[in-house]
């Protein structure tokens, strides 16, 4: 079993708390109509998120699905930039253009949250291919849900990763459901990691609510990918406490007892118990928890004060700088408002 230094363990616990409180606050802000759109919370999945992000090297790359608040935070994106994105503000990590599902931070090698189930898998193989072509000894971690493995893109991506020996680890966050469909009802094989065998790719299935087990398994698979270009599948068995999204109460397809039972094995409480064993005092731990709450409160304040993006920049980023000239001859007979909204809205600037 990997042992993690006490100070590291405390740091990881802090991150887990930050995510939990962030999600709680996010749900509150959503209900207060400060956040809109689809909003998928990751409460209950903190050990899997923080453990893998700890194992991922700072120059490795990350790509995820839409349940991505926790990944962004654990990767080190400022809570202010994440909350501002959820609020649709100019200071958000995607300048208010992406919202909850499309967080990113290129400086931290995070190439985005993506909203089409399994759409990010082929992209991950491309990131890994580029790393190989560029001779960089780095790897890619690609997060996906248990539901995503039933898409064709999963099979195509695993096969590509295997035949081209790509440095990519596919992280399957098995939280037992894809929306209201349990893994048993969706997948012919319920030990999901075994699917990797079809492509002769090494795989592991680990208790995703056990932080140290997550760190150990992800460290070993990521280092195999990084140094030997061995692609891998890591299945982390976890559970989401809240509904699929904020709009889903989450009780139509599972019982209150089932949720309750998982909450008894809460990943945050499990790490807390380890810290107590390590001799940390309750008062100190409470202080850490309180600090996480304050951190989130500060992010909310910051996001509230941040202005929304200007309509005069509607088309910002859509095309590379210099493209406006290519479009200049397309204006005649344009649809109503196109000149004002798109052409004057920063197209190609």
């Amino acid at each position: 079993m990997t042992t993690v230094a006490k100070s590291t363990l405390l740091e990881l616990w802090e991150q887990m708390l930050l995510i939990r409180h962030f999600e709680t606050e996010t749900e509150r802000a959503y209900k207060a109509a400060l956040i809109g759109g689809y909003c998928h919370l990751s409460s209950g999945q903190e050990a899997a998120t923080v453990g893998t992000m700890h194992a991922l090297g700072s120059d490795d790359l990350l790509i995820t699905g839409y349940r991505c608040h926790g990944f962004a935070l654990a990767r080190g994106v400022a809570p202010e930039a994440v909350m501002a994105e959820l609020f649709g503000r100019a200071g958000g990590c995607a300048h208010g253009r992406g919202g909850s599902m499309h967080l990113l931070d290129v400086e931290r090698g995070y190439y985005g949250g993506w909203g089409i189930v399994a759409g990010q898998l082929p992209l991950a193989t491309g990131l890994a291919l580029a790393l190989v072509r560029q001779g960089r000894q780095q790897c890619v971690l690609c997060e996906l849900g248990d539901g995503a493995i039933n898409m064709g893109a999963w099979h195509e991506s695993l096969n590509l990763a295997a035949v081209w020996r790509l440095p990519v680890v596919f992280l399957v966050m098995n939280n037992a459901y894809g929306m209201g469909t349990s893994v048993e009802r969706a997948s012919a094989v319920t030990d999901l990691h075994r699917r990797a065998a079809a492509y002769d790719i090494p795989s592991l299935r680990v208790d995703g609510d056990d932080l140290l087990a997550v760190v150990e398994a992800s460290s070993s698979l990521l280092s195999g990918a990084r140094s030997e270009r061995v692609p891998a599948v890591l299945e982390l068995v976890t559970y989401r406490y809240r509904g699929h999204s904020v709009a889903d109460p989450g009780f139509a397809y599972r019982s209150a007892e089932e949720i309750e039972e998982h909450m008894h094995r809460d990943p945050i409480q499990r790490v807390r118990a380890l810290l107590v064993e390590e001799g940390l005092a309750d008062a100190e731990l409470e202080g850490v928890e309180h600090a996480a709450q304050e951190r989130v409160a500060a992010a909310v304040e910051w996001a509230r004060a941040d202005p929304p993006p200007a309509v005069s920049e509607l088309a910002r980023g859509m095309y590379a700088p210099g493209s406006a000239a290519q479009f200049a001859r397309m204006l005649a007979g344009a649809p109503f408002g196109e000149r004002e909204l798109v052409f004057a809205g920063g197209l190609g600037q």
């Binding site: 809109g36 759109g37 689809y38 994105e85 649709g88 503000r89 995607a94 208010g96 253009r97 992406g98 919202g99 599902m101 499309h102 993506w114 909203g115 089409i116 189930v117 399994a118 759409g119 539901g147 995503a148 039933n150 898409m151 064709g152 894809g178 929306m179 209201g180 469909t181 009802r185 969706a186 997948s187 139509a252 397809y253 929304p308 993006p309 309509v311 509607l314 088309a315 859509m318 007979g333 649809p335 109503f336 408002g337 196109e338 909204l341 798109v342 809205g345």
Partner: protein, 344 residues
């Protein structure tokens, strides 16, 4: 060989009931499931979860898991399964959670379903229905705020309908299920809660390929389909009130086949047209309309045909940007006034 339909002679039911668009679709599904054993529903979350947008609520309990079949997240797989089942006489009604995810199954729809009739010389038919909502406006962001019906309507071999009110939702979905070709039924996220009178007669069908004059008027023609029709009707009332403008609204209902005759008749009368769609106009439904109107009504037009749709950007998340980019009522009204020469 086709299995016999199960219905006895239907007893005519008269009268109407006020219900939502969502309920009207559900009624159509229930009636068709009852009428014809070959009809079955499949899609993500249609059963236990009762539909991502609750259209199929209660149908699993009533008809069981063989007729109301939950699928894994495998659009290419189950759309293709629908095509295959339809080829030997089933009548699958496949639900795609939103039209954005239909792109994953584009190959099965465009390269397979659409080809079956013609490519095999009429030897095989594909009576498949795909139902799915388009639309934007809830900050769902770029990957979830699209309206691709024009792409499908651009494909020979497919039929595409887009009901704009509960009565047409029921009547067109039923016609689609009874049709012998692949039909895409385009719904809309914002329209599900719209209410209206719906005929209770289980034989209430709305013919595919027939538009409807949703509001009569003499000054200008607004051509729309789906949720854009709802917007157009609101704008027409507002223009009447604020500017004394009397707009006619043509609700296309079908995109392929397209009822050009109804559009031409209206524009010949009003001499001006503004075409509206939820999606991007460039290469879109309104582009097709503008082309046909200018050719058929060249001598009747007093102004260029105008088009209003979503601003041509991947839709941003921030509310202010999203609203500005949508074909909202302010933008439609401005386009109408401009076309009438009443605005600078």
């Amino acid at each position: 060989m086709t299995p016999a339909e199960t219905a006895e002679t239907p007893t005519p039911v008269s009268g109407t009931e006020v219900m939502t668009y969502r309920e009207a679709l559900r009624l159509a599904l229930r009636e068709e499931l009852q009428r014809d054993e070959r009809v079955f529903i499949m899609g993500e979350e249609v059963g236990v979860f009762e539909g991502a947008y609750k259209v199929t609520a209660g149908l699993l309990a009533e008809f069981g898991p063989d007729r109301v079949r939950d699928t894994p997240i495998s659009e290419e797989g189950f759309v293709g399964a629908g095509v295959g089942a339809a080829m030997i006489g089933e009548r699958p009604v496949v639900e795609i959670m939103t039209i954005n995810f239909l792109l994953v199954a584009m190959d099965q729809v465009v390269n397979h379903a659409a080809k079956i009739g013609a490519m095999f010389g009429g030897e095989v038919r594909c009576p498949l229905v795909i139902r799915t909502p388009n639309g934007a406006g809830n900050q769902l962001t770029a990957q979830h705020s699209q309206s691709f019906e024009g792409w499908f309507a651009a494909t020979p071999g497919l039929k595409v309908v887009a009901p704009a009110n509960p009565a047409d939702a029921k009547g067109l979905l039923k016609s689609a299920i009874r049709d012998d070709d692949p039909v895409l039924v385009v719904e809309n996220l914002a329209i599900y809660k719209e209410r209206g009178e719906v005929p209770l007669d289980p034989e209430h069908l709305v013919p595919i390929g027939l538009a409807r004059v949703a509001r009569e008027g003499a000054d200008i023609t607004l051509v729309a389909h789906g949720f854009a029709t709802v917007r157009a009707l609101h704008v027409a009332e507002r223009l009447k009130r604020d500017h004394g403008v009397d707009a006619e609204v043509v609700d296309l209902r079908s995109l392929r086949p397209l009822d050009v005759d109804t559009v031409v008749e209206s524009v010949t009368k009003t001499n001006r047209a503004v075409c509206i769609e939820e999606g991007w106009p460039t290469y879109g439904v309104t582009a097709e309309l503008a082309a046909r109107i200018q050719k058929a009504c060249f001598d009747d037009l007093d102004a260029p045909v105008e088009r209003v749709g979503m601003a041509e950007v991947p839709l941003p998340y921030a509310k202010g940007l999203e609203t500005a980019a949508m074909p909202n009522e302010d933008r439609i009204a401005a386009a109408v006034l401009t076309t009438l020469g009443l605005r600078g």
